[in-house]
Structure formats: structure tokens, C-alpha cells
């Protein structure tokens, strides 16, 4: 039997040591009424049959490689082979939460390095060992603000990813924290700084940078608005921009959250990855989740251990800051290694390549009849277009030509059915951009050689 070492002789000998006659005797505590179940599943198959069966499922998916322009919170970035090779080491994959620090220094140290890297990227003072993902980290960040301010209302920008805002609402339904929207400037696509009245009694203003539509927010303005009302500014930060844009901490944000996914972790249909949560020093004891600290051992050697555990569920039980028990150590490790391979220069260049290619594509597309940029605000590497005739049918036409042109936003709101969110990364080379533009002309029925009209 697969993965089970015992022979029948082993089992018999062990039953004898236990002093029972059969395996069934071990299960005698289960009431007879319950023991009638039969597992309604097919019998097992050998690995040689399993592999082709599952591979056939993988093959039933269609991916677009460098001709995919999908983003909206999940991005395709080249993951160096060294990241995969190191994170596949079973010393990392088959260990668990580092409760026994003496035999977990590898995990503890790479988490400490992750915490440091996140502090550097967010320009905040403390980061935890990671959360489930970006949206759940956002909800936890808002809860942290509610605990710190002892206020219960959360104000969230309408330019935060709709799914992240939904996660925030789901989390808030338990303790009954009201969540209200703050508006977006219809011209620029930037979040309008809420007035003190709009933020009255609010624990946090939650925004996203760059925002869901790709537009770069003026965080300093939003931080001032939040602070004027006694609220904290919680920023959901995109890491692809982290080497280029001024970090949340430098712009006055109190809490930064986000998803490490683009760094070191492939899309994987949306998971797993790791969320991050960073904040100012003064909120340390309100942080949810694991934290690794530096200390010394019995021989005065520098080492690492889990710390400040009095915040956590296994110590504080119902008074814990969160019920979270795990951290996404392996996905966080992938990000840490990828960041170490990129370094500060590589991270900046990665962001710059994304920016220049995205702006080039946007520029070329908006010369074609039928495409209008939705907003005038400066975008980073993702932009929203209004597509004449609807985004969904355009996307279907593009896919037939081998290009997945962006996320039709009608999936989030019916009134967004003519909006397309286009993401460009370093994976989309110059030829891919050209292929996009040519396919777009064809799909939009604008195949004329002089198809590019001059910009207004």
C-alpha cells in the first residue's frame, strides 16, 4: 500500500503488543451506529496512472504565456529557477511552524529576513511573518486599526480591489464593524480625500496603491485626511511598484498590507501566495499572526525564535488579536529569495520595465478607434480602458487570436461591462505588445494600414 510501511506481520505483532485481536478493536469507541459508513470513492491507483490522469487536467487548461495581459491582483513575473530549487528543498517544505527553535533556525531566520524585507519595501518599522493573502491581510490591517483607535467604523476607497473590499466586509460582519465606501474622482481615478465628516468615528481609511484601476494614488494627501480625523491610513501596496513609487510609510501610512504573489510566486489560479502586514512600532502588540525575533541562546549565540506570542490564539485563546495560526512561510520564502536575487536595483528595474511597456501599450491602443482610457490619472503598469462594444466580446475575440488581453471588469460590476483592465509586466516583451496591438486592430475592425489615428 502506498506510503504505508507496515507489512501485515508488523500489524499483527503491534496488535499483540497493544493486546487486541484486530484493527477493529482499536475503533471500539466509535458507536456502532456510526461505524457503518463506506467510503464512496474509487479505489486507489498506482503513481504511474495518477501522473497521466492529473497531467491531463493540467493540459485541459489553456495558458497564454507572454501573451497574457491579466492582472487585477495576480501577476505573471519570471520566477528565477533558483527560487524554485531552494523553495522545493524538503527541509523547508516538510517542516512546520517553528515551535522548537533549536531545530527550526532555517525557517525562523528566513522569516526574520522576510520581515526585514517587508519593512524595507513598506518603509514601516515592523512586519509580521505573513498572512494568508493580500485581501485577508487588508481585513486584519483594518481590524488592527480598530483595536488601536478603539473605533469601529472602516472607510474603504472604491478604488480598492472589489474582492479585497468584499473580504473586509465578510470579516467585519462578525464583530459588526460598519464598512463604508469613499469615492473616486471620476476624471483622475484617484481616491477623493474624505472630509473629516466622512471619516468621523472611523478607525481607518483603506486605500490601494497603485489602485485597482491601475492609477497611482496621492498617499500623502490621503494620510493627512485620515490623520485629521483621528483615523489610521491603511494602504494595500502592490510590490511590483515597491522599487519605484514612494513607499506607504514615507507618505504617512500607518499600516501597509499586500500580497507577495508577483515576487517569487507564480499565479497558480490565485493561490497560494502570502499576504504581508507592516505597521508602525507603536502597534506591535496589536499585530495579528506570527512574529520572529532575534535573541541569544544558552551559549550566547545569536539566534531566532517566535516572539510576543501573548498576542496569539494558542496563548491568549479568545483574547487573541486574531485566530490566525499559520503563516505562509514557504510563499514568503519564495518572495524573500526572489528579492535577494533582484536586489534594490533589480526591483527598481523590474518596476520600470513594467511601467514603460505598459505606457507604450496604452499609448498605442488608445490610438485605435474604440479604446478610451477611463481615467486621466497617472497609472503604473496597469490601466483601464473603455472598450466600445463591450470588454467581454473584445476579450473573446482576442483570445481566439492567442492574446488574453486583460480582465473584463464586468465580472465585478455589471455597470463596468465595457471596462477592460490591462496589466503589463516584464513577461510581456516588445513583440507581445505589437502582437496585442495588431490583434486589437483586427478584432475592432480597424485593420487599415493607417489605423493608428493621431491622439486628440
Amino acid at each position: 500500500m502506498s506510503y504505508l510501511p507496515h507489512t501485515d506481520a508488523d500489524r499483527a505483532a503491534m496488535l499483540q503488543v497493544i493486546g487486541v485481536d484486530s484493527i477493529d478493536d482499536l475503533f471500539a469507541a466509535i458507536p456502532a451506529d456510526l461505524r457503518t459508513c463506506v467510503l464512496d470513492m474509487a479505489p486507489g491507483i498506482p503513481e504511474s496512472e495518477l501522473a497521466p490522469k492529473v497531467t491531463a487536467l493540467a493540459d485541459a487548461n489553456r495558458t497564454y504565456g507572454s501573451r497574457s495581459f491579466l492582472g487585477a491582483g495576480c501577476y505573471q513575473i519570471y520566477v528565477p529557477a533558483a527560487v524554485r530549487a531552494l523553495t522545493a528543498r524538503s527541509e523547508f517544505t516538510t517542516s512546520y511552524t517553528p515551535y522548537q527553535a533549536e531545530v527550526s533556525q532555517g525557517t525562523l531566520q528566513h522569516i526574520f529576513e522576510f520581515q526585514t524585507a517587508i519593512c524595507e519595501l513598506t518603509a514601516l518599522e515592523v512586519a509580521n511573518a505573513s498572512m494568508y493573502d493580500g485581501p485577508s491581510a487588508l481585513a486584519e490591517g483594518a481590524f488592527l486599526a480598530a483595536r488601536h483607535t478603539r473605533r469601529d467604523r472602516i472607510v474603504v476607497s472604491a478604488a480598492v480591489h472589489p474582492e479585497a473590499a468584499e473580504v473586509l466586509r465578510t470579516y467585519s460582519s462578525g464583530p459588526g464593524l460598519p464598512v463604508t465606501d469613499s469615492t473616486v474622482d471620476p476624471a483622475t481615478g484617484r481616491t477623493n480625500p474624505p472630509t473629516p465628516e466622512e471619516l468621523e468615528g472611523a478607525a481607518a481609511l483603506v486605500v490601494q496603491q497603485p489602485n485597482f484601476f491601475g492609477v497611482i494614488e496621492d498617499l500623502a494627501l490621503l494620510a493627512d485626511a485620515a490623520h485629521a480625523a483621528g483615523a489610521l491610513l491603511v494602504v494595500s501596496q502592490g510590490l511590483l511598484a515597491a522599487g519605484v513609487l514612494s513607499p506607504p510609510g514615507a507618505e504617512g501610512a500607518d499600516v501597509a498590507v499586500g500580497d507577495v504573489q508577483p515576487i517569487g510566486n507564480p499565479p497558480q489560479f490565485g493561490g497560494p501566495s502570502a499576504g504581508f502586514l507592516a505597521c508602525r512600532d507603536q502597534f506591535i502588540r496589536q499585530l495579528p499572526g506570527r512574529l520572529v525575533g532575534k535573541t541569544v541562546d544558552a551559549d550566547r549565540r545569536v539566534c531566532f525564535s517566535l516572539t510576543l506570542q501573548a498576542r496569539e490564539q494558542h496563548i491568549r485563546r479568545e483574547k487573541a488579536t486574531s485566530n490566525i495560526c499559520s503563516n505562509q512561510a514557504l510563499a514568503a520564502l519564495a518572495a524573500t529569495i526572489h528579492l535577494a536575487l533582484l536586489g534594490p536595483v533589480g526591483l527598481r528595474q523590474l518596476g520600470e520595465v513594467c511601467v514603460t511597456r505598459a505606457h507604450s501599450l496604452c499609448d498605442r491602443l488608445t490610438r485605435i478607434d474604440g479604446f478610451e482610457p477611463l481615467f486621466s490619472g497617472t497609472f503604473f503598469h496597469e490601466f483601464t480602458l473603455r472598450v466600445a462594444g463591450g470588454a467581454e466580446s473584445f476579450a473573446a475575440g482576442m483570445r481566439r487570436l492567442g492574446v488574453d488581453p486583460g480582465v473584463p471588469l464586468g465580472r465585478f460590476r455589471p455597470e463596468w461591462s465595457d471596462l477592460l483592465l490591462v496589466a503589463v509586466t516584464e513577461m510581456n516583451g516588445p513583440d507581445d505588445l505589437t502582437a496585442y496591438v495588431e490583434a486589437a486592430r483586427e478584432v475592432m475592425g480597424d485593420g487599415k494600414a493607417t489605423g493608428e489615428r493621431s491622439r486628440r
Binding site: M14, L26, V38, G106, T170, P266, D297, R301
Partner: protein, 522 residues
């Protein structure tokens, strides 16, 4: 006192492997980013008018070989299932089959974007649907969501569904969740996070839920009872049918914490026990790697009356596939968002799909017969250890256990001052990970041992030998236990110091010196 003053952890120079930040050398590079290759202004010009980064983040600057050596060396400082026995109670540290990792790494899975068109993601949707069916078969429930990222995340989903159900059924004033005193901390924290007050139920002298105590605790204020079965003592709640009946009579729902599902696959189903909502830990029962703390996955399965409240989207199969199944719109599997009473989503996208692929492969490989055998051997191994250790160590509830049991170091503590913690540390010298200690809370000096089914008799015997030797040492040379471990990379980190003077990140040397100077001036 400054955290950087002499005596603080930052002034130590000995470290087994320096931090990657301390290995950094300006100008060194690993990953090269190619030029944009497009005709545009520079990024700085394109972004003019926005706030740009003034100072680069201090990230390591290293060539690839140095990065690879650093993390390979760190890996050598970990214990892992692939290195040795890991009887960490409640965590089900079973062997993680390699084929599952390989299959989950197929580009058809890893490169798939969550917002691709439905017809382009049929393979993964089919896998998710099939996995849901398999999980329902094991649990005897009605429908499941694969979205929760971990067990505790699944608990939150479950209790938020309980809240929504009561809201819709005249139970909005139910404000209490009952948990036994042996429960995982996550149960209590979850109830609190979902806005409930917690009532802890003392266990009976048999280590189980006491029916009389439960009946007294239940009231019109009770929203749910959260149970783990077998419980954290490794004991099956033999009154389970009466427990769920009492709870339902009081109008409460019953939550099944699936942490210990590995004991009962093919033997008993939570659905037949009367459970209303169940979470599973795929990283425990279905053998996906734990990854140093995650990512795992915590799907939640429900009975029919809670189905309307599941998080969206759900995966569904079209009953009659469109004849043109290859054409857009003819997809066999789809994501359902139209679920009006849903509590809403609890994470982005659909779940830890890479983990789901591994669990699916595991379940298909083993099949119904293999899962049954896995549970049988898990229970066999736990009882074998219990019987072999019970002369040397107290076993407070010494009767037939399920997949784990709880011993105690009370005797060793009384006779030689050796605690469960000391024994845990001494085991590390034998290349064995410690069992879970000091949990559950209702056993003093608890040592919670879960061997899992993938350990051979030789491994179990080696563990027994180590435990017996430690007991012998306790009586004859306790110092060796009290000062353990002796052969690990580090020994007994000072956790008090770590908490008193938290150093939670590396800082550049220049900043550190500046901090000291600032401290001197003030």
C-alpha cells in the same frame, strides 16, 4: 535601555549563518532585468507628478551562488518530515508524497491566471470539483467551499455561516459559543473574531464532553458548540450522537474541527455524527506539505441547511454539458457567484489551488481503500506508542486512543524537576522532533504524541527507546535532560529576552550606530 546596548542581542557576533543582509556587497547582482525594448520616455518621466521613491530599499546585493548557498545552509538548520520522525501532536506530520509536488508544479496549473475565461480553466475547475466530491465522501456532508486558506480560516468561515444562519432563523440574539476546555486556541479566538462570547466546558474525568455539563451550558443564547472529534486528547467522543442531539434541541449548530480527521477516514463521518459544519486541514489529513507554517488549505463542508451561506464563488458542474463543449460558453465546470445568502468571500480568488492539486492527487492515489488503511495504521501506531510508553510516563487517559494520545511528564517533574519542555528539548538530540507540549491545557505537563501512519515500526521503536532513555536519565543524570539539547545548531533561545527587547528586523549598521549615538545624547 536601548535594544542595541551592550548585552542586547544585536551586539552578539557569533551566528551560525549570517543574515543575508549582512552578506550583501554593493554592486553584486543576481537576476538581470532586460531593457524595456519600447520607444517611450523613461519611467521617471512617465510617472512625473507622482511621489517616487527617494531612497532604494535596503535589499541584499549578492550574486546567485551566494544566495543559493545561504538558503541551502539555512535549510540544513531545520528538522523536517523528510529528515526524521515528527510526532507533533495535532499537526499530522505525515509523509508528503513527491509526486504531488511534481504534479502541482505542472505549468498548466502554475501559470493559470484566476481571471482567465471559464473555458480556458476547465482542467483546474474539474480538479476542484472532483476534490470537493472526495471531501464530501470522507465527511458525509452536502457541499463544500475550497476557499479558506487554513484550518483557522475555515473555522472563521464556519462560525460566520453559523451567525448568518441564526440571523435568518430568528436566532440573532444567540451570542455564545461553547467549546470544551481541551479545544484548540483557534476555536476560542475564532468565536471571538466572529463576535461571540465563549463558554468553556470542563471535560469529564474520562476526558470527554460531559452530557450533564453540556446540557446545563446550552441555552437559547447558544449559537454553536465547537468540537474536535476525536478530541485533542486523542479520544473519540463516544456520546457524540447525544451531544449533537442536545445541541440541536437547544437550537444550536455543531461545528466539527477537522484537525483530527486523520483518525476516522472510512470509519465514521462527521455528517453521520450530526455535524452541521466541518473544516478540514488538507495539510494534515491529505498530506500537503506544511511549508514551515503554510501555505495549507482549510476547506469547509456543510449540511444542507447551511449551504446557502457558503462563501462564493462555488465550483459547479453543468448537468448536461453543452454539445459544443469546446466552444466558449459550453464549459462543463463553472464558478457560481449567484448565491444570495452567502457570507461573502474570505480571501482573494478561489483558495490555495496549488495545495488543492496536491490533496486531490493524494486522495486519488490512495482511493477509498487507501484512506481507510491510512486511518487504521495511524490509530495502530498511536496505540502502539501509548502502550509501550505507559510504564515510564503517565498517560492520564490510558485507554484505547485514536490517532494520537497525551502523555504527561508529571512524574518526571515531581521526582527530578524535569519538565515536558526539558523532555521535548532532549528528544531533539536524538534527531526526533518534539511532540506538542503543554497542550491540551487540561493535562499538566502534557506531551501530545501523534505518530501518523507513515512511520515504520522501527521508527516507532527508536522513539520509544529515546523516550525510555530520557526517563532513565531523568532518574540518574537529570542534568543531561535539563541542559538539553546538546547537538542542535543553537540551544534554548532566550525567549524572555526576545519578548522583552523585541528585535524584529535587521537594521543597516549605519542606522544602528546612529541609534546608539542618539541614545547617548539623550
Amino acid at each position: 535601555m536601548s535594544a542595541h546596548a551592550p548585552g542586547g542581542p544585536d551586539d552578539r557576533t557569533t551566528i551560525v549563518e549570517p543574515l543575508i543582509f549582512d552578506k550583501s556587497r554593493p554592486g553584486h547582482r543576481a537576476a538581470a532585468i532586460e531593457a524595456p525594448g519600447v520607444q517611450t520616455a523613461s519611467a521617471t518621466e512617465l510617472l512625473s507628478g507622482t511621489a517616487l521613491r527617494q531612497r532604494p530599499p535596503t535589499l541584499p546585493e549578492l550574486a546567485e551562488p551566494e544566495v543559493v548557498r545561504h538558503y541551502t545552509r539555512l535549510s540544513h538548520m531545520n528538522h523536517a518530515v523528510d529528515l526524521g520522525f515528527y510526532p507533533l501532536g495535532s499537526c499530522t506530520m505525515k509523509y508528503n508524497p513527491k509526486v504531488n509536488d511534481e504534479l502541482a508544479s505542472l505549468p498548466g496549473f502554475t501559470r493559470l491566471h484566476p481571471y482567465q475565461a471559464e473555458e480556458d480553466v476547465q482542467g483546474t475547475l474539474e480538479l476542484m470539483w472532483e476534490l470537493e466530491q472526495a471531501l464530501l465522501a470522507v465527511t458525509g456532508m452536502c457541499r463544500a467551499s475550497l476557499q479558506p486558506a487554513a484550518g483557522a480560516h475555515g473555522e472563521l468561515v464556519g462560525i460566520l455561516m453559523v451567525r448568518a444562519y441564526h440571523r435568518d432563523h430568528g436566532g440573532a440574539d444567540r451570542d455564545t459559543v461553547i467549546v470544551p476546555d481541551s479545544a484548540h486556541g483557534t476555536n476560542l479566538a475564532t468565536a471571538n473574531m466572529a463576535g461571540y462570547r465563549v463558554v468553556e466546558l470542563p471535560s469529564s474525568d474520562r476526558g470527554l464532553v460531559d452530557l450533564t455539563t453540556l446540557a446545563e451550558a446550552l441555552s437559547e443564547r447558544t449559537a454553536a458548540v465547537m468540537l474536535t472529534n476525536p478530541n485533542t486528547l486523542g479520544l473519540f467522543e463516544d456520546d457524540i450522537l447525544e451531544i449533537t442531539r442536545l445541541a440541536h434541541e437547544a437550537g444550536a449548530l455543531v461545528y466539527y474541527d477537522g484537525a483530527n480527521l486523520n483518525a476516522i477516514m472510512g470509519k465514521a463521518r462527521p455528517g453521520d455524527m450530526g455535524m452541521d459544519v466541518v473544516h478540514m486541514n488538507l495539510h494534515k489529513t491529505f498530506s500537503t506539505p506544511h511549508g514551515g507554517g503554510g501555505p495549507g488549505a482549510g476547506p469547509v463542508a456543510v449540511c444542507a441547511r447551511l449551504e446557502p451561506y457558503l462563501p462564493t464563488p462555488l465550483v459547479a458542474q453543468r448537468v448536461t454539458p453543452d454539445p459544443g463543449a469546446d466552444e466558449p460558453g459550453g464549459a462543463r465546470f463553472h464558478l457560481v457567484y449567484d448565491h444570495p445568502s452567502s457570507i461573502g468571500r474570505v480571501r482573494g480568488f478561489y483558495g490555495n489551488v496549488g495545495v488543492l492539486v496536491r490533496a486531490y492527487a493524494y486522495m486519488v492515489r490512495l482511493g477509498g481503500n487507501g484512506l481507510l488503511r491510512a486511518s487504521e495504521d495511524a490509530v495502530l501506531n498511536a496505540n502502539y506508542l501509548r502502550v509501550r510508553l505507559r510504564d515510564a510516563y503517565d498517560v492520564p487517559y490510558d485507554r484505547m486512543c485514536m490517532h494520537e494520545f497525551v502523555a504527561s511528564a508529571s512524574r518526571q517533574k515531581h521526582t527530578a524537576g524535569v519538565t515536558a519542555r526539558d523532555i521535548a528539548k532532549r528528544l531533539l538530540d536524538f534527531g526526533i522532533h518534539s511532540p506538542t507540549v503543554y497542550f491540551p491545557l487540561n493535562v499538566p505537563e502534557a506531551i501530545m504524541i501523534e505518530p501518523t501512519e507513515t512511520e515504520s515500526r522501527d521508527t516507532l521503536d527508536s522513539f520509544v527507546d529515546a523516550m525510555l532513555q530520557i526517563d532513565h536519565e531523568t532518574r540518574h543524570e537529570p542534568t543531561i535532560v535539563l541542559e538539553a539539547p546538546h547537538v542542535t545548531p543553537v540551544r534554548r533561545p532566550d525567549e524572555t529576552l526576545a519578548a522583552r527587547e523585541p528585535v524584529l528586523r535587521w537594521r543597516p549598521q549605519a542606522v544602528r550606530l546612529q541609534a546608539v549615538h542618539t541614545a547617548e545624547r539623550t
